[in-house]
Protein backbone atom coordinates (compact mmCIF):
# COMPACT_ATOMS: atom_id res chain seq x y z
CA UNK A 1 0.00 0.00 0.00
CA UNK A 2 2.80 2.35 1.02
CA UNK A 3 4.74 1.34 -2.08
CA UNK A 4 1.77 2.18 -4.25
CA UNK A 5 1.35 5.57 -2.61
CA UNK A 6 5.01 6.44 -3.08
CA UNK A 7 4.85 5.27 -6.68
CA UNK A 8 1.84 7.46 -7.35
CA UNK A 9 3.53 10.49 -5.78
CA UNK A 10 6.76 9.94 -7.69
CA UNK A 11 5.02 9.29 -11.00
CA UNK A 12 2.97 12.44 -10.43
CA UNK A 13 6.14 14.40 -9.78
CA UNK A 14 7.79 12.81 -12.78
CA UNK A 15 4.85 13.80 -14.97
CA UNK A 16 4.91 17.40 -13.79
CA UNK A 17 8.69 17.55 -14.14
CA UNK A 18 8.35 16.16 -17.64
CA UNK A 19 5.79 18.77 -18.63
CA UNK A 20 7.90 21.60 -17.23
CA UNK A 21 10.97 20.37 -19.04
CA UNK A 22 8.94 19.78 -22.16
CA UNK A 23 7.68 23.36 -21.93
CA UNK A 24 11.28 24.53 -21.73
CA UNK A 25 12.21 22.41 -24.72
CA UNK A 26 9.51 24.31 -26.64
CA UNK A 27 11.44 27.57 -26.14
CA UNK A 28 13.00 27.73 -29.59
CA UNK A 29 10.76 25.22 -31.28
CA UNK A 30 9.76 27.70 -34.00
CA UNK A 31 13.41 28.43 -34.75
CA UNK A 32 14.24 24.78 -35.27
CA UNK A 33 11.08 23.51 -36.89
CA UNK A 34 9.02 26.19 -38.61
CA UNK A 35 10.50 26.51 -42.08
CA UNK A 36 8.79 28.43 -44.82
CA UNK A 37 8.23 26.90 -48.23
CA UNK A 38 8.65 30.30 -49.80
CA UNK A 39 11.84 31.37 -51.54
CA UNK A 40 11.44 34.98 -50.43
CA UNK A 41 14.07 35.59 -47.75
CA UNK A 42 12.80 37.24 -44.58
CA UNK A 43 14.28 37.93 -41.16
CA UNK A 44 13.01 36.33 -38.00
CA UNK A 45 10.91 38.79 -36.03
CA UNK A 46 11.34 38.93 -32.28
CA UNK A 47 7.58 38.53 -31.92
CA UNK A 48 7.94 34.81 -32.76
CA UNK A 49 6.93 32.46 -29.99
CA UNK A 50 6.62 28.78 -29.13
CA UNK A 51 4.56 27.23 -26.39
CA UNK A 52 3.35 23.95 -25.00
CA UNK A 53 -0.20 23.08 -26.05
CA UNK A 54 -2.62 20.33 -25.25
CA UNK A 55 -5.15 18.94 -27.72
CA UNK A 56 -8.10 21.25 -28.18
CA UNK A 57 -6.27 24.15 -26.58
CA UNK A 58 -6.52 27.63 -28.00
CA UNK A 59 -4.15 30.51 -27.24
CA UNK A 60 -3.70 34.02 -28.51
CA UNK A 61 -0.41 35.44 -29.75
CA UNK A 62 -0.38 39.20 -29.95
CA UNK A 63 1.82 41.17 -32.31
CA UNK A 64 2.17 44.53 -34.00
CA UNK A 65 2.56 44.55 -37.80
CA UNK A 66 4.10 47.78 -39.07
CA UNK A 67 3.16 49.57 -42.25
CA UNK A 68 5.87 49.24 -44.86
CA UNK A 69 6.88 45.71 -43.92
CA UNK A 70 5.90 42.35 -45.37
CA UNK A 71 5.27 39.62 -42.85
CA UNK A 72 5.16 35.86 -42.97
CA UNK A 73 3.67 33.68 -40.26
CA UNK A 74 4.61 30.01 -40.27
CA UNK A 75 3.03 27.55 -37.84
CA UNK A 76 4.44 24.18 -36.92
CA UNK A 77 3.87 21.49 -34.31
CA UNK A 78 5.69 18.45 -33.08
CA UNK A 79 4.56 14.93 -33.96
CA UNK A 80 2.07 14.81 -31.11
CA UNK A 81 -0.41 16.64 -33.27
CA UNK A 82 -1.09 14.90 -36.54
CA UNK A 83 -3.54 17.43 -37.93
CA UNK A 84 -2.68 20.98 -38.98
CA UNK A 85 -3.47 23.69 -36.47
CA UNK A 86 -6.24 26.18 -37.00
CA UNK A 87 -5.33 29.83 -36.93
CA UNK A 88 -7.11 33.09 -37.34
CA UNK A 89 -5.78 36.62 -37.60
CA UNK A 90 -7.73 39.39 -35.94
CA UNK A 91 -7.13 43.10 -35.86
CA UNK A 92 -7.63 44.70 -32.47
CA UNK A 93 -9.53 47.89 -33.02
CA UNK A 94 -10.29 50.50 -30.42
CA UNK A 95 -13.86 51.46 -31.01
CA UNK A 96 -15.30 54.67 -29.73
CA UNK A 97 -18.34 54.43 -27.52
CA UNK A 98 -20.49 57.51 -27.26
CA UNK A 99 -21.45 58.26 -23.68
CA UNK A 100 -25.14 58.66 -23.16
CA UNK A 101 -25.39 58.98 -19.43
CA UNK A 102 -24.19 62.31 -18.07
CA UNK A 103 -23.73 61.08 -14.57
CA UNK A 104 -23.10 57.72 -13.04
CA UNK A 105 -21.21 56.22 -10.14
CA UNK A 106 -20.56 53.10 -12.21
CA UNK A 107 -19.08 54.31 -15.49
CA UNK A 108 -18.52 50.87 -16.93
CA UNK A 109 -22.19 50.15 -16.55
CA UNK A 110 -23.32 53.40 -18.13
CA UNK A 111 -25.59 53.16 -21.10
CA UNK A 112 -23.51 53.35 -24.27
CA UNK A 113 -23.83 53.34 -28.01
CA UNK A 114 -21.19 51.48 -29.96
CA UNK A 115 -19.91 52.30 -33.41
CA UNK A 116 -19.17 49.50 -35.85
CA UNK A 117 -18.42 46.82 -33.35
CA UNK A 118 -18.51 43.12 -34.05
CA UNK A 119 -18.53 41.36 -30.76
CA UNK A 120 -20.69 38.39 -31.67
CA UNK A 121 -19.63 35.05 -30.31
CA UNK A 122 -17.26 33.45 -32.79
CA UNK A 123 -17.53 29.98 -31.34
CA UNK A 124 -13.95 30.04 -30.09
CA UNK A 125 -14.85 30.75 -26.55
CA UNK A 126 -14.51 33.89 -24.54
CA UNK A 127 -12.33 36.40 -26.31
CA UNK A 128 -10.82 38.08 -23.29
CA UNK A 129 -8.37 40.54 -24.73
CA UNK A 130 -6.47 41.10 -21.52
CA UNK A 131 -7.21 44.77 -21.58
CA UNK A 132 -9.52 44.74 -18.64
CA UNK A 133 -12.88 46.40 -18.60
CA UNK A 134 -14.17 46.86 -22.11
CA UNK A 135 -15.76 50.27 -21.61
CA UNK A 136 -13.43 52.58 -19.83
CA UNK A 137 -11.90 56.02 -19.51
CA UNK A 138 -9.10 56.07 -21.99
CA UNK A 139 -8.08 54.38 -25.17
CA UNK A 140 -6.26 51.65 -23.28
CA UNK A 141 -9.58 50.42 -21.92
CA UNK A 142 -8.58 49.85 -18.36
CA UNK A 143 -10.32 51.56 -15.52
CA UNK A 144 -7.95 50.39 -12.83
CA UNK A 145 -5.91 53.53 -13.39
CA UNK A 146 -8.08 56.01 -11.60
CA UNK A 147 -8.35 59.29 -13.39
CA UNK A 148 -5.19 59.31 -15.44
CA UNK A 149 -7.01 58.82 -18.66
CA UNK A 150 -5.48 61.46 -20.86
CA UNK A 151 -8.32 63.87 -21.30
CA UNK A 152 -11.00 61.25 -21.21
CA UNK A 153 -10.90 60.98 -17.48
CA UNK A 154 -13.45 61.19 -14.79
CA UNK A 155 -14.12 64.83 -14.07
CA UNK A 156 -14.48 64.04 -10.41
CA UNK A 157 -18.22 64.43 -10.33
CA UNK A 158 -19.02 61.18 -12.04
CA UNK A 159 -19.45 62.80 -15.45
CA UNK A 160 -17.79 61.35 -18.53
CA UNK A 161 -18.02 64.00 -21.20
CA UNK A 162 -15.49 62.61 -23.61
CA UNK A 163 -15.35 59.41 -25.56
CA UNK A 164 -14.70 56.02 -24.12
CA UNK A 165 -13.28 53.15 -26.05
CA UNK A 166 -13.84 49.49 -26.32
CA UNK A 167 -11.40 47.00 -27.80
CA UNK A 168 -12.95 44.87 -30.51
CA UNK A 169 -11.38 42.04 -32.48
CA UNK A 170 -12.21 42.02 -36.19
CA UNK A 171 -11.53 38.86 -38.18
CA UNK A 172 -9.07 39.31 -41.05
CA UNK A 173 -8.13 35.77 -41.95
CA UNK A 174 -9.12 32.20 -41.15
CA UNK A 175 -6.99 29.34 -42.45
CA UNK A 176 -10.04 27.06 -42.38
CA UNK A 177 -11.23 29.01 -45.40
CA UNK A 178 -7.85 28.70 -47.08
CA UNK A 179 -7.20 24.97 -47.16
CA UNK A 180 -5.76 24.88 -43.63
CA UNK A 181 -2.46 26.28 -44.90
CA UNK A 182 0.18 26.61 -42.20
CA UNK A 183 1.83 29.74 -43.49
CA UNK A 184 0.65 33.09 -44.73
CA UNK A 185 2.34 36.18 -46.11
CA UNK A 186 0.78 39.55 -45.63
CA UNK A 187 1.39 43.25 -45.73
CA UNK A 188 -0.52 45.88 -43.79
CA UNK A 189 -1.58 49.17 -45.32
CA UNK A 190 -1.47 50.70 -41.84
CA UNK A 191 0.29 49.56 -38.70
CA UNK A 192 -1.97 47.05 -37.00
CA UNK A 193 -2.23 45.42 -33.61
CA UNK A 194 -2.99 41.79 -34.40
CA UNK A 195 -4.02 38.73 -32.48
CA UNK A 196 -3.10 35.35 -33.92
CA UNK A 197 -5.53 32.86 -32.48
CA UNK A 198 -4.06 29.37 -32.60
CA UNK A 199 -6.09 26.26 -31.89
CA UNK A 200 -4.84 22.70 -31.82
CA UNK A 201 -7.43 20.30 -33.25
CA UNK A 202 -8.92 17.74 -30.92
CA UNK A 203 -11.25 17.65 -28.03
CA UNK A 204 -10.20 19.83 -25.12
CA UNK A 205 -9.46 17.79 -22.00
CA UNK A 206 -11.42 19.10 -19.08
CA UNK A 207 -9.69 17.37 -16.20
CA UNK A 208 -7.33 14.53 -16.93
CA UNK A 209 -4.97 14.70 -19.83
CA UNK A 210 -2.34 12.32 -21.07
CA UNK A 211 1.17 13.52 -21.47
CA UNK A 212 1.13 12.21 -25.00
CA UNK A 213 -1.59 14.76 -25.64
CA UNK A 214 0.73 17.73 -25.14
CA UNK A 215 3.27 19.06 -27.58
CA UNK A 216 5.06 22.12 -28.87
CA UNK A 217 3.47 24.64 -31.21
CA UNK A 218 5.67 27.22 -32.87
CA UNK A 219 4.57 30.53 -34.35
CA UNK A 220 7.40 31.87 -36.49
CA UNK A 221 6.98 35.51 -37.50
CA UNK A 222 9.30 36.86 -40.16
CA UNK A 223 9.50 40.24 -41.82
CA UNK A 224 11.18 42.17 -44.57
CA UNK A 225 10.91 45.68 -45.89
CA UNK A 226 7.92 45.83 -48.17
CA UNK A 227 8.63 46.01 -51.86
CA UNK A 228 5.41 47.88 -52.51
CA UNK A 229 2.01 46.62 -53.40
CA UNK A 230 2.14 46.95 -57.18
CA UNK A 231 4.65 46.74 -60.03
Amino acid sequence: MKNNLISIVFFGLASITFVNLKAQSCNYFHKRNCASESEIPMREDTQSKSALFSKGQQSDFNMVAYKGQDYRIVLCTDETFSEPVEFRIYEKVRTRIEPVAESSDEPAAASTKQEETSTEDDGWGDSDDGWGNSASYDSYSDDSWGDSGGGNANTGSGEYKEAKFKLVKELLYDNKEDGMVQEIEFTAENTKSLTIEVKVPGEAVQKKLKIKEVGCVGVLVEHTKSGGLGF
Binding site: N62, A65, K208, K210
Partner: protein, 301 residues
Amino acid sequence: MNILKAASINCVVVGLISVVACAEPEHSTAEKTNEEVDSLKLASTSAIQPDENYYPIPSPEEMFEFIKANQLKYDPAKVISNDISKFSSEEQKAVAFGVFSTNLAYVASFEDFQKSISFYKTIRELGNDLGIEGAVTQNTMNRIQAHLDQPDSLMKIVNNSYRESVAFLENNKRGNVMAVIAASGWVESMHIVLSSVEKFDESNEVMQRIADQKLVFGNLLAYLKDYSDDPMVMNMMKKVSPVREVFSSFEERKTGKISNQKKGKKLILGGGTKIYMSAQQFLQLKSSVEQVRRSMLNETI
Protein backbone atom coordinates in the same frame (compact mmCIF):
# COMPACT_ATOMS: atom_id res chain seq x y z
CA MET B 1 13.62 -2.25 1.58
CA ASN B 2 10.80 -2.49 -0.94
CA ILE B 3 9.87 1.11 -0.23
CA LEU B 4 13.43 2.18 -0.85
CA LYS B 5 13.51 0.16 -4.04
CA ALA B 6 10.30 1.74 -5.28
CA ALA B 7 11.61 5.19 -4.40
CA SER B 8 14.91 4.50 -6.16
CA ILE B 9 13.17 3.31 -9.30
CA ASN B 10 11.01 6.37 -9.33
CA CYS B 11 13.99 8.65 -8.78
CA VAL B 12 15.65 7.02 -11.77
CA VAL B 13 12.44 7.55 -13.77
CA VAL B 14 12.37 11.24 -12.84
CA GLY B 15 16.04 11.56 -13.68
CA LEU B 16 15.67 9.77 -16.99
CA ILE B 17 12.70 11.85 -18.01
CA SER B 18 14.65 14.98 -17.18
CA VAL B 19 17.58 13.82 -19.27
CA VAL B 20 15.30 12.83 -22.16
CA ALA B 21 13.57 16.19 -22.14
CA CYS B 22 16.80 18.14 -21.86
CA ALA B 23 18.52 16.14 -24.53
CA GLU B 24 15.60 16.16 -26.90
CA PRO B 25 17.02 16.15 -30.39
CA GLU B 26 15.83 18.63 -32.95
CA HIS B 27 12.92 17.68 -35.17
CA SER B 28 11.77 14.94 -32.86
CA THR B 29 9.20 14.40 -30.22
CA ALA B 30 10.32 13.57 -26.73
CA GLU B 31 9.39 10.20 -25.32
CA LYS B 32 5.87 10.00 -24.13
CA THR B 33 4.35 8.16 -21.26
CA ASN B 34 0.75 7.26 -20.88
CA GLU B 35 0.62 8.72 -17.40
CA GLU B 36 -2.56 10.57 -16.73
CA VAL B 37 -2.18 13.70 -14.72
CA ASP B 38 -4.56 16.27 -13.45
CA SER B 39 -4.64 19.05 -16.00
CA LEU B 40 -5.27 21.61 -13.27
CA LYS B 41 -2.06 20.55 -11.56
CA LEU B 42 -0.25 20.74 -14.86
CA ALA B 43 -1.60 24.21 -15.43
CA SER B 44 -0.29 25.26 -12.05
CA THR B 45 3.21 24.31 -13.13
CA SER B 46 2.94 27.16 -15.66
CA ALA B 47 3.76 24.71 -18.42
CA ILE B 48 0.23 24.70 -19.76
CA GLN B 49 -1.99 27.69 -19.37
CA PRO B 50 -5.27 27.05 -21.13
CA ASP B 51 -6.43 29.90 -23.35
CA GLU B 52 -3.29 31.85 -22.61
CA ASN B 53 -2.55 35.25 -24.08
CA TYR B 54 1.03 35.74 -25.21
CA TYR B 55 2.34 39.25 -25.52
CA PRO B 56 5.58 39.91 -27.35
CA ILE B 57 8.32 41.47 -25.29
CA PRO B 58 9.21 44.65 -27.17
CA SER B 59 12.71 44.09 -28.40
CA PRO B 60 14.74 47.29 -28.85
CA GLU B 61 16.81 45.93 -31.71
CA GLU B 62 14.14 46.41 -34.40
CA MET B 63 13.49 49.98 -33.37
CA PHE B 64 17.19 50.78 -33.61
CA GLU B 65 17.52 49.04 -36.95
CA PHE B 66 14.67 51.20 -38.17
CA ILE B 67 16.15 54.47 -36.95
CA LYS B 68 19.51 53.51 -38.35
CA ALA B 69 17.91 52.83 -41.72
CA ASN B 70 16.31 56.27 -41.51
CA GLN B 71 19.62 58.05 -41.01
CA LEU B 72 19.19 59.11 -37.40
CA LYS B 73 22.59 59.91 -35.92
CA TYR B 74 24.33 57.74 -33.35
CA ASP B 75 25.14 59.63 -30.19
CA PRO B 76 27.10 57.74 -27.51
CA ALA B 77 26.21 60.48 -25.04
CA LYS B 78 22.64 59.15 -24.93
CA VAL B 79 23.62 55.95 -23.17
CA ILE B 80 23.72 55.57 -19.44
CA SER B 81 26.91 55.34 -17.38
CA ASN B 82 28.03 51.85 -16.50
CA ASP B 83 27.92 52.35 -12.76
CA ILE B 84 25.58 49.80 -11.25
CA SER B 85 26.62 50.11 -7.64
CA LYS B 86 23.45 51.98 -6.73
CA PHE B 87 21.07 49.35 -8.05
CA SER B 88 20.52 47.24 -4.99
CA SER B 89 17.01 45.76 -4.79
CA GLU B 90 15.62 43.17 -7.19
CA GLU B 91 13.30 45.81 -8.64
CA GLN B 92 16.15 48.27 -9.23
CA LYS B 93 18.30 45.56 -10.77
CA ALA B 94 15.46 44.50 -13.08
CA VAL B 95 15.00 48.12 -14.20
CA ALA B 96 18.75 48.40 -14.73
CA PHE B 97 18.83 45.13 -16.69
CA GLY B 98 16.17 46.45 -19.08
CA VAL B 99 17.87 49.84 -19.45
CA PHE B 100 21.35 48.38 -20.01
CA SER B 101 20.05 45.74 -22.44
CA THR B 102 18.52 48.51 -24.53
CA ASN B 103 21.74 50.51 -24.40
CA LEU B 104 23.63 47.40 -25.50
CA ALA B 105 21.24 46.94 -28.45
CA TYR B 106 21.73 50.61 -29.37
CA VAL B 107 25.53 50.64 -29.30
CA ALA B 108 25.73 47.23 -30.98
CA SER B 109 23.38 48.22 -33.82
CA PHE B 110 25.63 51.21 -34.50
CA GLU B 111 28.69 48.97 -34.29
CA ASP B 112 30.27 50.63 -31.28
CA PHE B 113 32.12 47.49 -30.27
CA GLN B 114 34.04 48.75 -27.25
CA LYS B 115 30.88 50.05 -25.65
CA SER B 116 29.12 46.79 -26.54
CA ILE B 117 31.64 44.79 -24.56
CA SER B 118 31.47 47.18 -21.68
CA PHE B 119 27.64 47.00 -21.54
CA TYR B 120 27.67 43.26 -21.89
CA LYS B 121 29.94 42.98 -18.85
CA THR B 122 27.52 45.14 -16.88
CA ILE B 123 24.51 43.10 -17.99
CA ARG B 124 26.33 39.92 -17.10
CA GLU B 125 26.89 41.21 -13.60
CA LEU B 126 23.25 42.28 -13.25
CA GLY B 127 22.10 38.96 -14.72
CA ASN B 128 24.10 37.06 -12.13
CA ASP B 129 22.61 39.20 -9.36
CA LEU B 130 19.11 38.53 -10.71
CA GLY B 131 19.82 34.81 -11.02
CA ILE B 132 19.41 34.76 -14.79
CA GLU B 133 21.48 31.74 -15.62
CA GLY B 134 22.77 30.63 -18.96
CA ALA B 135 21.85 33.68 -20.96
CA VAL B 136 24.72 35.83 -19.80
CA THR B 137 27.83 33.67 -19.95
CA GLN B 138 31.56 33.95 -20.37
CA ASN B 139 31.11 31.91 -23.53
CA THR B 140 28.84 34.60 -24.99
CA MET B 141 31.39 37.22 -23.97
CA ASN B 142 34.10 35.30 -25.83
CA ARG B 143 31.86 35.02 -28.88
CA ILE B 144 31.23 38.77 -28.84
CA GLN B 145 34.96 39.44 -28.73
CA ALA B 146 35.52 36.97 -31.54
CA HIS B 147 32.93 38.68 -33.74
CA LEU B 148 33.92 42.29 -33.22
CA ASP B 149 34.57 42.74 -36.92
CA GLN B 150 31.23 41.20 -37.93
CA PRO B 151 28.37 43.53 -37.00
CA ASP B 152 25.61 41.11 -38.05
CA SER B 153 27.02 38.32 -35.93
CA LEU B 154 27.41 40.68 -32.99
CA MET B 155 23.76 41.72 -33.23
CA LYS B 156 22.68 38.09 -33.44
CA ILE B 157 24.64 37.21 -30.32
CA VAL B 158 23.25 40.19 -28.45
CA ASN B 159 19.67 39.39 -29.51
CA ASN B 160 19.97 35.71 -28.68
CA SER B 161 21.31 36.58 -25.29
CA TYR B 162 18.30 38.83 -24.61
CA ARG B 163 15.89 36.13 -25.78
CA GLU B 164 17.61 33.54 -23.60
CA SER B 165 17.04 35.84 -20.64
CA VAL B 166 13.36 36.20 -21.55
CA ALA B 167 12.96 32.42 -21.88
CA PHE B 168 14.81 31.75 -18.63
CA LEU B 169 12.64 34.15 -16.65
CA GLU B 170 9.40 32.88 -18.21
CA ASN B 171 10.32 29.25 -17.61
CA ASN B 172 11.17 29.95 -14.02
CA LYS B 173 7.92 31.69 -13.19
CA ARG B 174 9.60 35.05 -12.96
CA GLY B 175 7.38 36.83 -15.42
CA ASN B 176 7.14 39.69 -12.92
CA VAL B 177 10.88 40.39 -13.30
CA MET B 178 10.57 40.04 -17.07
CA ALA B 179 7.68 42.51 -17.11
CA VAL B 180 9.78 45.14 -15.31
CA ILE B 181 12.74 44.49 -17.61
CA ALA B 182 10.51 44.77 -20.70
CA ALA B 183 8.91 48.01 -19.55
CA SER B 184 12.15 49.71 -18.54
CA GLY B 185 13.83 48.54 -21.76
CA TRP B 186 11.00 49.95 -23.84
CA VAL B 187 11.11 53.31 -22.01
CA GLU B 188 14.86 53.48 -22.60
CA SER B 189 14.46 52.73 -26.31
CA MET B 190 11.83 55.50 -26.57
CA HIS B 191 14.20 57.86 -24.74
CA ILE B 192 16.98 57.15 -27.24
CA VAL B 193 14.73 57.39 -30.31
CA LEU B 194 12.85 60.51 -29.22
CA SER B 195 16.00 62.33 -28.23
CA SER B 196 17.55 61.41 -31.59
CA VAL B 197 14.83 63.26 -33.49
CA GLU B 198 15.80 66.88 -33.80
CA LYS B 199 12.49 68.29 -34.96
CA PHE B 200 8.98 67.13 -35.70
CA ASP B 201 8.42 66.37 -39.36
CA GLU B 202 5.11 64.77 -40.22
CA SER B 203 6.43 63.42 -43.50
CA ASN B 204 9.29 61.53 -41.83
CA GLU B 205 8.62 57.78 -41.53
CA VAL B 206 10.21 57.81 -38.10
CA MET B 207 7.32 59.95 -36.81
CA GLN B 208 4.77 57.36 -37.84
CA ARG B 209 6.86 54.60 -36.25
CA ILE B 210 6.93 56.61 -33.02
CA ALA B 211 3.15 57.19 -33.15
CA ASP B 212 2.61 53.47 -33.80
CA GLN B 213 4.36 52.72 -30.52
CA LYS B 214 0.95 53.40 -29.02
CA LEU B 215 0.04 49.85 -30.09
CA VAL B 216 3.27 48.35 -28.76
CA PHE B 217 2.69 50.17 -25.50
CA GLY B 218 -0.82 48.66 -25.38
CA ASN B 219 0.64 45.14 -25.56
CA LEU B 220 3.22 46.09 -22.96
CA LEU B 221 0.49 47.31 -20.60
CA ALA B 222 -1.42 44.07 -21.09
CA TYR B 223 1.72 42.12 -20.29
CA LEU B 224 2.30 44.20 -17.14
CA LYS B 225 -1.31 43.71 -16.17
CA ASP B 226 -0.85 39.94 -16.20
CA TYR B 227 1.53 40.40 -13.27
CA SER B 228 -0.14 43.35 -11.61
CA ASP B 229 -0.52 41.53 -8.30
CA ASP B 230 3.23 41.88 -7.94
CA PRO B 231 4.23 45.10 -6.12
CA MET B 232 7.18 45.93 -8.35
CA VAL B 233 5.08 45.45 -11.50
CA MET B 234 2.31 47.60 -10.04
CA ASN B 235 4.93 50.21 -9.26
CA MET B 236 6.10 50.12 -12.86
CA MET B 237 2.50 50.45 -14.11
CA LYS B 238 2.14 53.59 -12.03
CA LYS B 239 5.43 54.96 -13.27
CA VAL B 240 4.53 54.62 -16.95
CA SER B 241 1.14 56.29 -16.49
CA PRO B 242 2.32 59.70 -17.86
CA VAL B 243 3.23 57.98 -21.15
CA ARG B 244 -0.10 56.21 -21.15
CA GLU B 245 -1.84 59.53 -20.73
CA VAL B 246 -0.08 61.06 -23.75
CA PHE B 247 -0.65 58.01 -25.97
CA SER B 248 -4.32 58.07 -25.01
CA SER B 249 -4.60 61.49 -26.58
CA PHE B 250 -3.28 60.27 -29.96
CA GLU B 251 -6.12 60.18 -32.40
CA GLU B 252 -6.91 56.98 -34.29
CA ARG B 253 -8.71 57.73 -37.54
CA LYS B 254 -10.43 55.12 -39.62
CA THR B 255 -8.85 54.87 -43.05
CA GLY B 256 -11.44 52.57 -44.52
CA LYS B 257 -13.31 49.40 -43.86
CA ILE B 258 -11.10 46.59 -42.65
CA SER B 259 -10.47 44.28 -45.56
CA ASN B 260 -8.31 41.48 -46.80
CA GLN B 261 -7.45 40.85 -50.38
CA LYS B 262 -5.10 38.28 -51.84
CA LYS B 263 -2.56 39.36 -54.42
CA GLY B 264 -0.84 36.20 -55.53
CA LYS B 265 0.13 34.47 -52.33
CA LYS B 266 0.23 37.68 -50.34
CA LEU B 267 -2.63 38.94 -48.26
CA ILE B 268 -3.12 42.69 -48.22
CA LEU B 269 -4.64 43.84 -44.95
CA GLY B 270 -6.37 47.09 -45.69
CA GLY B 271 -8.38 49.69 -43.86
CA GLY B 272 -8.41 49.87 -40.12
CA THR B 273 -7.09 52.89 -38.34
CA LYS B 274 -4.09 55.16 -38.58
CA ILE B 275 -2.60 56.76 -35.50
CA TYR B 276 -1.95 60.49 -35.69
CA MET B 277 0.57 62.42 -33.64
CA SER B 278 0.75 66.22 -33.75
CA ALA B 279 3.87 68.28 -33.14
CA GLN B 280 2.56 69.15 -29.70
CA GLN B 281 1.84 65.53 -28.85
CA PHE B 282 5.33 64.60 -30.01
CA LEU B 283 6.78 67.06 -27.51
CA GLN B 284 4.42 65.79 -24.81
CA LEU B 285 5.49 62.22 -25.49
CA LYS B 286 9.15 63.21 -25.38
CA SER B 287 8.64 64.99 -22.09
CA SER B 288 6.59 62.16 -20.53
CA VAL B 289 9.18 59.55 -21.54
CA GLU B 290 11.91 61.63 -19.90
CA GLN B 291 9.74 61.99 -16.81
CA VAL B 292 9.17 58.23 -16.61
CA ARG B 293 12.82 57.48 -17.25
CA ARG B 294 13.86 59.87 -14.47
CA SER B 295 11.36 58.32 -12.11
CA MET B 296 12.64 54.84 -12.99
CA LEU B 297 16.25 55.80 -12.47
CA ASN B 298 16.11 58.58 -9.89
CA GLU B 299 15.21 56.12 -7.20
CA THR B 300 18.32 54.21 -7.96
CA ILE B 301 20.85 56.80 -9.05
